[in-house]
């Protein structure tokens, strides 16, 4: 079974440009997470979905970040316009959402460099 798939793996953009990241979770997983991980730091939650609903977006900088999860499957995370401080690795993870099966599976991430 395929794991969590993210694309692209790497992205370099100039500041003020838009950028989008895509995530395909494990089939059947209702819960989807987007995290941002700065160099040498732990992942920080940006947004969490239960099916199509964003149930926790309190850490998402809504002035420039947006996300969607159409049909409760794939998800995209967008930044517009990007700033230098947005350079980081963006991780997507999914879990089944079942109480006894709470493991979150992670994708390989997208490394964003804003120049």
């Amino acid at each position: 079974e395929a794991g969590v798939v993210q694309s692209p793996r790497y992205k370099i953009i100039e500041k003020k440009q838009p950028v989008a990241f895509w995530c395909n979770p494990i089939s059947g997983h209702n819960t989807l997470y987007w995290y941002r991980q700065n160099l040498g730091q732990g992942p920080e939650l940006l947004i969490r979905y239960e099916n199509e609903e964003a149930v926790d977006d309190s850490q998402l900088p809504k002035d420039r970040f947006s996300a969607e999860r159409l049909k409760g499957v794939d998800s995209t995370l967008k930044i517009q316009p990007a700033e230098l401080g947005d350079s980081a690795v963006y991780l997507c993870a999914s879990s089944s959402g079942e109480p006894m099966n709470t493991e979150a599976f992670f994708g390989q991430g997208t490394r964003l460099t804003v120049v």
Partner: protein, 114 residues
């Protein structure tokens, strides 16, 4: 809000020896899950071990075991017979039972030396 603290930014161990990574957390929840994740240089986060807070018995997975002290809110990871492939960042994480919110610590960089 839940917080997870890993007080050891870096650690090193000789191959075949045992090492313990520390983690403490702060929560008012009574039901929750705790995890240790490993992130090798390739970047993909991999689950190492999981502990349910309602279980008193410490979880074990082959060479990996935890010391879960619920009253002290402590959750340390012991790696026995360390191998070169254990070199990675290790993250302690907390998940609320009620909403599956997953919060990570800042990580510990473990280096296993030959």
């Amino acid at each position: 809000a839940q917080t997870v603290t890993q007080s050891q930014p870096e650690m090193s161990v000789q191959e075949a020896e045992t090492v313990t990574l520390s983690c403490t957390y702060d929560t008012s929840e009574s039901n929750y899950y705790l995890f240790w994740y490993k992130q090798p240089p390739s970047r993909q986060m991999i689950l190492v071990i999981r502990q349910e807070a309602y279980k008193q018995q410490n979880a074990t997975e082959n060479r990996f075991s935890v010391n879960f002290q619920k009253a002290a809110k402590s959750f340390s990871l012991k790696i026995s017979d360390s191998q070169l492939g254990d070199t990675a960042m290790y993250f302690c994480a907390f998940m609320k039972w009620s909403n599956y919110k997953l919060t990570f610590g800042k990580g510990t960089l473990l280096t296993v030396n030959p």
